[in-house]
């Protein structure tokens, strides 16, 4: 077990970062609204209640177990020696947030950031399982994510783990850089979303025996687009707070980080607007919203590290690949991801992590970023699939056939989100 050290934080920077972190939950609220709006009306109440429940479970489990495994850059950790270098693979902090009040202000803020990050991470697979994932299974999957997977990746990237140490140990730039959680939050969440889609299977009627996949449009475009506005406010605060905490950015770089976040989302939206206009003759609201989110996700890794012109390019690429990925995953790979969570979070997160390596000035940074991707993809995805598969044997992910027929709102909660409206005839027949 070893410990590290970081320079202390001034009172004004502490106050600013705390204020930003108090705004960051808007990103979670935005994602919850987007998820709800993109699902059908028969699952709206379960979706939003599930989001709230997942935030609650994630917070409790992370406080009890996850925070200890995540550790902090200057805290105790489990390491092993390989090729003469120390490889820190897991934090060794106190259980149940022991010693929180006597910890340094910077560590307290880092912990708050991680609490918000784990909640956002867990909401991503919840979205991908929309309309068929059971509430209890979603909460159980969240507990696994918060106790095990998120702490592991968060320690590697933020808690002074081996990915962060790549710079000091192997001369790879500044080590793996991820200011806003493109890896620990979005790529991890996106990969979890993929496993949930694999395990839960497609919604009833989505892929008929013959012909193309059935279109199942979201029920409320206003929720979706207003969620995008909320997400922007939260993401700007999130990325600036991340730049202060994990990248140790000077105050002169903070406004630029927020501007880069906005530019990335804007370029993604414009690109997607153009792509869907050309592809379908009219711009598609849900795909444009997904691209906006993908632009925000991509900016998570790099907003604090790149120049505005590079941020525009990052957003542009995110906006071009998101519609293509959504279509590819559904039509070519038979993956029923109702909200596009895999494309937005895994795709956008991967691109953002890579963009840091491409645009950051340090030599060796690209290699550090590629190693981070290799770790998440090669080690975490099989592990998540294995544990989620085992969990599915104990607590089935998917609702039963009757639940799917009447809709998860009525089946799981006993009432629908819109009781005064008659359920759409197409919904009740499927």
């Amino acid at each position: 077990m070893t410990t590290g050290a970081i320079s202390p934080m001034t009172d004004s920077v502490f106050a600013l970062t705390l204020a930003l972190l108090l705004l960051a939950p808007l990103a979670i609220a935005g994602l919850a609204l987007v998820n709800t709006g993109l699902g059908r009306s028969r699952a709206a109440a379960q979706s939003i209640l599930g989001s709230l429940g997942i935030v609650a479970v994630a917070a409790i489990v992370f406080a009890a177990v996850g925070a200890a495994f995540t550790g902090s850059p200057e805290g105790a950790r489990h390491s092993f020696l390989l090729a003469g270098k120390s490889w820190s693979w897991l934090g060794a902090g106190p259980w149940l947030l022991g010693g929180l009040n006597s910890d340094s202000p910077q560590n307290q803020l880092m912990l708050l950031f991680e609490f918000l990050a784990v909640a956002l991470t867990a909401m991503i697979p919840w979205g991908s399982g929309a309309e068929r994932l059971r509430l209890t299974s979603g909460c159980a999957a969240t507990a696994l994510l918060s106790a095990l997977f998120f702490p592991l990746i968060a320690h590697w990237t933020w808690g002074g783990g081996w990915l962060k140490q790549l710079g000091a140990n192997f001369g790879l730039g500044a080590g793996f850089l991820d200011g806003g959680g493109a890896a620990a939050v979005h790529l991890l969440g996106g990969l979890s979303a993929l496993t949930v889609v694999w395990i839960a299977g497609p919604r009833k009627g989505k892929f008929p025996k013959e012909g193309l996949a059935t279109a199942m449009p979201g029920h409320n475009a206003v929720f979706v687009l207003f969620g995008c506005f909320l997400a922007l406010a939260g993401w700007m605060a999130w990325n600036v707070a991340g730049a202060v905490l994990w990248l140790h950015a000077p105050s002169s770089a903070l406004a630029g980080t927020a501007v880069n976040t906005l530019l990335s989302a804007s370029a993604a939206l414009v690109a997607s607007f153009a792509v869907t206009r050309i592809r379908f003759g009219k711009p598609d609201a849900s795909i444009c919203a997904n691209s906006w989110m993908a632009g925000l996700v991509a900016s998570s890794a790099c907003a604090g590290l790149i120049l505005p012109d590079a941020a525009l390019l990052v957003g542009l690429v995110a906006g071009l690949i998101t519609p293509l990925l959504i279509e590819l995953l559904e039509l070519a790979f038979s993956l029923d991801d109702p909200l596009g969570s895999i494309a937005v979070h895994a795709g956008g997160g991967l691109w953002g992590i890579l963009a840091v390596g491409i645009f950051a000035p340090q030599t060796g940074q690209l290699l550090a970023q590629l190693l981070g991707i290799a770790a998440l993809l090669g080690l975490t995805l099989p592990l998540i699939y294995l544990l989620f598969r085992l969990l599915d044997c104990v607590l089935p992910f998917r609702v039963n056939a009757e639940g799917e027929r009447i809709g998860v709102d009525l089946h799981e909660l006993g009432s629908s989100a819109y009781p005064e409206f008659v359920i759409h005839s197409d919904d009740s027949r499927q």
Binding site: L166, W198, F333, T363, L366, L377, G378
Partner: protein
Amino acid sequence: MKYAGLLVMPAGFFLSIAALILFHAAAPRLIFVLCGLAVEAMGLAVAVRGHMEESRSHRP
């Protein structure tokens, strides 16, 4: 088939880590890490293919 693909993926990760330890120059490290990522991509492709076959056989 899906499990076979998922089992291949950690091999790609360990290949990438081996690059760090075995090589000191940047170019061979980068090539080795890219090879590791390619192995992971192949594993993922096999897993996705396995899922597609599974879901096709379960279609109503």
